[in-house]
Every structure is written in structure tokens, then in C-alpha cells.
């Protein structure tokens, strides 16, 4: 099977190539709608032309809420701003805006920690988890592509033995990337796949093993137990594995993302987060609430369907895209 391409792209160039500006550009484009909802509010704000009053705070609140930042975190962010406005510590709206950006940066910067594959650990085991449809398999393919390019021999494990053709999906990626895949027929035990894969990875002295898992609703106790079992089985072989439990979150998810993180974290101990589908109009603002509450490292953002479209999370870019200094 050859790599299918989008209708706009019949060359072998990755689909992202036609989008200049990278993450920043994409995020900015995505935020256009939020700005529309503010009318001229944002540009007035940036020009410092507005009065520091309650309507300004209302507009900022709308901006933050529309980005899925959530009520609690929005109130947290604005309380400090409001207090300082009250004490007349801020000269103009531009200063207000800058302060808000600063506050958000202070939350995301500390958890902006790239994934580091420890060369002393071999194989370094990464387990991808998340609810259905967030983009786990695609993210794994992109990650495998990056690791391979960085010179790490790796193996993929097709741990989603539940969803129809999920194994085939990863198989296609493995072929395209020319990376070995450990798989069993659909319906087999995911933990057994992980077990075999880790043994295979050890036997071949592979640097990295990435284990895919089936998407599951975090509220289903039985399915979460199954995930725990996968982790347990890996630990029988290597007590330190998995070295990274990566929760994949969909940027368009609203406040439920917190519940997802909470449940997955309780079950298998999340050590890193990848936020996918940031190339749409969703801003993934829930990440700020998550960073504030959980302090779990933010690893990657997914910004497209091409293999290149997985970027290391950058706090500065993220804040700039969310609250741009240029209207």
C-alpha cells in the first residue's frame, strides 16, 4: 500500500510543508474566531486605548473562557489582574494584557519539559494512553518518525487489540516508517502484546519501545484495570518500565480533559502529555488548568496529519498563540 495523500498534495512532500508559520501561525489562525467574538476588544486592548474598567475584565474573561481555560483557572488568572487594576498598579490595558500573558507563562513554563530518551535505559519504554479518538496511534507514528530520525532504533507494539483494524492502522505506519512492529491478532490480550514487544526489544537491544493502547473512557473501571495490567506486565520484565506514560489529549476537549488526566493518572501514573489537533480552531486552553493543578510535563503538540506535525511543546509559543501581542 502506498501512502495515501490528501487531494491537495500529490507529491511526496509532507502535508505541513504548505503551511508556513509552524505552530505559531497555525495557532494564531485558530485564535481568529476568539478574537472575532471579542469584536474590536482585543485590538483596542493592545493599543492601550481602552479604559481599565469592568467591561475590560469581562472581555478578558470571555477570551479565556472561550479558549477552554475553565472557570476556576480563569478566575484565578483574573483575580490578580483585577486586584492590581484596583490598586492602579497597571498603567494601561497593554500592561494588563502583558500581565495576563506573564501569569499564564508562569504556569506553563515550569511544565514545559521535552521528552528525553535516557540513553542509559534500554529499551526506553513509552506507553501511550488516552480516551477514544484523541489521536494516539497517529501521535505514536509521528513520535516514532522523530526518534528514528534522531538515530534511535525502535519497536512499536500494537496494543490496541480492541478497535477494529487498529492493529492494521499501526501496521501501515510501521511499514511506512520501516520500523518493526509486534502485533497479535485482534482480540488478543493487550498485555501479552506489550510483554512480547518488550522481550523483543530487549533481544534486539533496541533503544525505544512505544506501546499503543486502545482508547478507553476513563470512567470504565474494567478498561482502566486492563491498562494497569499492561503496565504491571511491563514492570515484571523491567521494574522501571514504562519510562514514559504519555497521555494524549485532544485540543478540542473541554473541561473533561481534567477528569481524563485525573483518572489515567490514578490508574497508571501519567508522566507526560501530548496535546493533539491544535491545527484546528480549538485552543487547548484546558492545558493551563492541567498545568496548574497537576504539574505534569507537557511534551508535544500535534499540529497536523503529516509525520512532521509533532512539535516539542514550547511555553512561549503557546502563550503567544493564545494571547498574541500582535492583533
Amino acid at each position: 500500500m502506498t501512502a495515501p495523500t490528501r487531494p491537495d498534495n500529490n507529491t511526496s512532500a509532507p502535508r505541513s510543508a504548505r503551511d508556513p508559520g509552524g505552530l505559531l501561525g497555525r495557532l494564531r489562525a485558530g485564535l481568529a474566531s476568539a478574537r472575532q467574538s471579542l469584536g474590536h476588544g482585543l485590538s483596542d486592548l493592545l493599543l492601550g486605548a481602552r479604559a481599565l474598567d469592568a467591561s475590560l475584565l469581562d472581555d478578558l474573561e470571555s477570551l479565556l473562557l472561550s479558549a477552554d481555560i475553565g472557570i476556576e483557572t480563569t478566575e484565578f488568572l483574573l483575580s490578580d489582574v483585577a486586584a492590581r487594576v484596583g490598586r492602579k498598579e497597571l498603567a494601561d490595558t497593554r500592561a494588563v494584557y502583558a500581565l495576563l500573558r506573564q501569569r499564564i507563562l508562569e504556569i506553563v513554563q515550569p511544565v514545559s519539559q521535552p521528552l528525553r530518551v535516557d540513553p542509559a535505559v534500554r529499551p526506553f519504554v513509552i506507553m501511550a494512553v488516552g480516551v477514544n479518538g484523541v489521536g494516539k496511534t497517529t501521535t505514536i507514528a509521528k513520535l516514532a518518525h522523530q526518534l528514528k530520525r534522531a538515530g534511535h532504533p525502535l519497536i512499536l507494539a500494537a496494543g490496541d487489540t480492541f478497535r477494529a483494524a487498529a492493529v492494521d492502522q499501526l501496521k501501515v505506519w510501521a511499514q511506512r516508517l520501516d520500523v518493526p512492529l509486534v502485533a497479535q491478532p485482534p482480540g488478543s490480550d493487550a498485555a501479552a502484546v506489550a510483554h512480547d514487544a518488550l522481550h523483543a526489544a530487549r533481544a534486539r537491544a533496541t533503544d525505544v519501545l512505544i506501546v499503543d493502547t486502545a482508547g478507553r473512557q476513563h470512567t470504565h473501571a474494567g478498561l482502566m484495570d486492563e491498562l494497569k495490567k499492561i503496565k504491571r506486565v511491563l514492570q515484571k520484565i523491567d521494574p522501571a518500565a514504562p519510562h514514559e506514560v504519555m497521555l494524549v489529549l485532544d485540543a478540542s476537549t473541554g473541561q473533561n480533559a481534567i477528569s481524563q488526566l485525573k483518572h489515567f493518572h490514578e490508574a497508571v501514573g501519567v508522566t507526560g502529555i501530548a496535546l493533539t489537533k491544535l491545527d484546528g480552531t480549538a485552543k487547548g486552553g484546558i492545558l493551563i488548568a492541567i498545568a496548574r493543578q497537576y504539574r505534569i510535563p507537557l511534551r508535544f503538540v500535534g499540529v497536523g496529519e503529516g509525520l512532521e506535525d509533532l512539535q516539542v511543546f514550547n511555553a512561549g509559543d503557546y502563550v503567544e498563540a493564545l494571547l498574541p501581542m500582535q492583533p
Binding site: M1, T2, P4, T5, R6, P7, D8, A29, G30, S33, S37, S62, L65, S66, A67, D68, G70, I71, V131, N132, G133, V134, G135, F162, R163, A164, A165, A166, D168, Q169, L170, K171, V172, W173, P186, Q217, H218, T219, H220, A221, G222, M224, D250, S252, T253, G254, Q255, N256, A257, S259, H263, K277, D279, G280, T281, A282, K283, I286, E305
Partner: protein, 449 residues
């Protein structure tokens, strides 16, 4: 999925009860709380603003009937507005043959799974023959996925290849259905971003080529504020005929349902409620809106419960637990029987306020079909075992399992469930369901003291 919002609103509206009248002041406070509850539930900000304004306007002009407290009057307005926003249910069109149904949506919304469920639904409920086809030539193995699902639910599959053009696949499937006299054609499509112009052109071209009787927008119920943007874009690009809300079996608050209705004006036709191919339910606006507010179902439940539950038994049980005596398997069986009379454990739990506090894993175990089996297992125990479940070990388990026609694992599960229930009972402090319902008496509208 709506539980959190339900709880939130219940907390909010309770505050109004016991106040003599609905003043401008306390209505403002409550509406602010309702606004926050809706936002926490991921209802889109503009939709929330409109809704609050609507309620405010309606509540202001409305006199409070003498039979209602001001709080109830405001609840009623909020609920009626919610139901109004949800719209009236509309059936799925499956005629004239070959009736084409196209699904569209973002990546990962659950389109392919939904097509499988819809196919099964149409075969089961409408007794029609179904052909499914995938135009997703991009996602690896998407076509294979649909093929497997088609086999699983026992419908015809129209083969396609990643090299084919989506428009040609769709048209080919419809021709095939016509030739083979198949009633309904379900066309799956690739997930696409609403801001991807070329992909949106593609789905529009597919739509024009096959003239669907239904064009359904599939949306993840966990979607946040962005639901308005995507729904608007898809609604403008395609003449949508309805919406399917997926993954409602999680704990998402489901505010996207409100946003979608408001933005598209199109009916929500189905809810995806699980991973199995049968896990698709018709959308019932009244029920969902009531569930968001909590009130309607709580009232219905309490009335129902009073007819069904044997009060003496539940009071005896409550007394027993209050006295600190253990909650044994006899009591557990009694509760299961009462639950069964009320339409099953899960349905009862869903309707109760405050059930957000019950651990998810306990709720996950409350499978209605299990109730009868659980009772059978307990029936197969000796009275001694029921009073002292700790004595049930290996060989006793095997005897109980064979006596009740179940497996040892199921006996284990029951014992685990009983332990969970016991813990839950203890945490309620005051007693069982009966006692809880007793406690609710008089506090709810429509229930006599």
C-alpha cells in the same frame, strides 16, 4: 455524562428553596450560578449568554403560581428553556430506497464506529437491508476498520481502496445498492478540519454526488468551546439533517449538546453510549434536558420508588445499619430486588441526586442485566454464608457458582460488589436507599410529606 452539571445545578437551585419569594436580587445570583454551571459543562460562551438572557426575560414577566415556590418557578423556566433549546426529536430517514446516509465530522469524533452502530440499528429497528462504504482514503486502515465492523454487525460492505477517489467510492456504493436492491447506504467519510478548505470541498462534492436523505454531523460529547466553531462550519458547508453525539458513556458534562443545537438548529438524533455495536440510543430531548437539571427525573424516581419499594423492609434495613449492624448479603439481595422493581440499578443511580459521589468503578459495575444473576448467586448461598460472607472461600464459591449457573469469577465479582456497596452504605452513614428516599420526601416538589 450530564451528572456533574446535574449536581451543580441541583446545588444551585436548592439555595432558592426555603426563600419566600423570588427577588430580582436572588434571581441574579442564581442565574450567575447557572451560568457558571453551564460553562463548566462546556456549553459555549455565546450560547450560555443567550440562554441566561432568555431565562431572565421569561422569569421576569412570569407570575409565580400559588402552588409553586418561587424557586420551583425558576427551575421550571430554566428547565423549559433547556428543553426548548434541545428541540423536538426527529426520526431517522431511511426511505426511499436506496436511502443514502452520509456522516461527517472532525478526526476522532467516532464516525466509523457510529456507522457500524447505525447499520445495526437500521437492520434491527427498521428491518432494512444496509450497505456501508468508506470514503476515508487517508487514515491508514480506516476502510479495513469499516469492513470489520460491517462483518461484525452483519451488513453488506462496499469495497474501496485508498487509491480511489472519495466521490467515486460514494457514487459506486449507491449504484451498487440500486443494482442489488439494498434499502439503505451508509457512507463513512474521513475526519476533517472545518478550516481545511480542500477537504471541506471534497465532502461537499461527495454530498452532491449521492443526494443523501440524511447528512449527520458526528461530534464528540467531550468537545469544549470549539464545538460552536466546528458545528457552524460544517453546517454551512453541508445541509446537515442531524447530529450524533458520541462517547456519552464517559463523565463529560455534555454541554456540547446545547451548543450544537443552538448553533446548527439541527436535531440531535442519537447518542453513542459505549463501545459495543448496540451502544446507540435515540436522543430524547426531554429526558436529556431533565437530566441536566435533575429535577424531573428525581421527581419521577421518587414517585416510582414509593410505589415499588417495600417501606417496612427498607426501614428495617436502615435501622439495622444505623445501629451499626453489618450490611449482609441478605440485605444486599433485598436492595437488589427493590432496585429491580424500579427498573434496574443503573437507571436508579443515574436519576439520583448526589450520585456523582459514588465511585466510578462502583457505578461501572451496576449493569442492569446483572441484577437477576446477582440475586441468583445470593439465592444459591446458605443463610449462614449470607450473614457471614467472609466464610465464602474456594469450594463454597464453586458450589454457589454451579448452583446458580454462573462462574466462580461472577461469584467473586458479586462479593467485590457487595463490599463496595457496603463501603458506600457506610459512607452514607444513615442507611440504604430507602432511607435516602425517606430523607428526600418533602424536600422535593410534587412529593407529599
Amino acid at each position: 455524562m450530564f451528572d456533574n452539571l446535574t449536581n451543580r445545578l441541583q446545588g444551585t437551585l436548592k439555595r432558592l428553596r426555603g426563600e419566600g419569594r423570588l427577588t430580582e436580587e436572588n434571581m441574579r445570583e442564581t442565574l450567575r450560578e447557572v451560568r457558571m454551571a453551564l460553562l463548566e459543562a462546556d456549553v459555549a460562551l455565546p450560547v450560555v449568554k443567550d440562554f441566561i438572557e432568555q431565562v431572565r426575560l421569561r422569569a421576569q414577566g412570569q407570575e409565580v403560581l400559588s402552588s409553586l415556590t418561587p424557586g420551583q418557578a425558576l427551575i421550571k423556566v430554566v428547565q423549559e428553556e433547556l428543553v426548548g433549546l434541545m428541540g423536538t426529536p426527529e426520526p431517522l430517514q431511511v426511505a426511499p430506497p436506496p436511502a443514502v446516509i452520509l456522516v461527517a465530522g472532525l478526526q476522532g469524533a467516532g464516525k466509523t464506529t457510529t456507522v457500524g452502530k447505525l447499520a445495526r440499528f437500521i437492520v434491527d429497528r427498521h428491518k432494512k437491508s444496509v450497505l456501508v462504504a468508506s470514503t476515508d482514503v487517508y487514515r491508514p486502515a480506516a476502510i479495513e476498520q469499516l469492513k470489520r465492523l460491517a462483518t461484525q454487525v452483519g451488513v453488506e460492505f462496499f469495497p474501496s481502496d485508498p487509491q480511489d477517489k472519495p466521490v467515486e467510492i460514494a457514487a459506486g456504493a449507491v449504484n451498487e445498492a440500486r443494482r442489488r436492491v439494498i434499502d439503505v447506504v451508509l457512507v463513512d467519510s474521513a475526519g476533517r478540519l472545518h478550516i481545511d478548505g480542500e477537504m471541506m470541498d471534497e465532502i461537499r462534492a461527495v454530498h452532491e454526488a449521492i443526494h443523501p436523505v440524511e447528512t449527520l454531523f458526528v461530534v464528540d460529547s467531550m468537545t469544549g468551546q470549539d464545538a460552536v466553531n466546528t458545528a457552524k462550519a460544517f453546517n454551512e458547508a453541508l445541509p446537515l439533517s442531524g447530529v450524533i453525539l458520541t462517547k456519552t458513556d464517559g463523565d463529560a458534562r455534555g454541554g456540547a449538546a446545547l451548543s450544537l443545537r443552538k448553533v446548527t438548529g439541527k436535531p440531535i438524533k442519537f447518542l453513542g453510549v459505549g463501545e459495543g455495536m448496540q451502544a446507540l440510543e435515540a436522543f430524547d430531548a426531554q429526558r436529556v434536558a431533565s437530566r441536566i437539571l435533575g429535577m424531573g427525573d428525581v421527581v419521577a424516581l421518587v414517585e416510582q420508588a414509593y410505589q415499588a419499594a417495600d417501606q417496612e423492609k427498607s426501614q428495617a434495613l436502615a435501622k439495622k445499619i444505623a445501629k451499626g449492624k453489618g450490611f449482609d448479603l441478605d440485605d444486599f439481595r433485598e436492595q437488589l430486588r427493590q432496585m429491580e422493581k424500579m427498573g434496574g440499578l443503573a437507571s436508579v443511580v443515574d436519576k439520583l441526586p448526589g450520585m456523582g459521589e459514588v465511585p466510578e468503578h462502583v457505578r461501572a459495575q451496576m449493569n442492569d442485566k446483572q441484577t437477576a444473576r446477582l440475586i441468583a448467586i445470593i439465592n444459591s448461598m446458605t443463610p449462614g454464608e449470607r450473614r457471614n460472607p467472609d466464610m465464602i472461600r474456594g469450594s463454597r464459591k464453586r458450589r454457589i457458582a454451579s448452583g446458580s449457573g454462573t462462574q466462580v469469577q461472577e461469584v467473586n465479582r458479586l462479593l467485590k460488589q457487595y463490599e463496595d456497596m457496603q463501603r458506600m452504605m457506610k459512607s452514607f452513614g444513615k442507611g440504604g436507599l430507602g432511607r435516602m428516599l425517606q430523607g428526600m420526601k418533602g424536600k422535593l416538589p410534587g412529593i407529599p410529606r
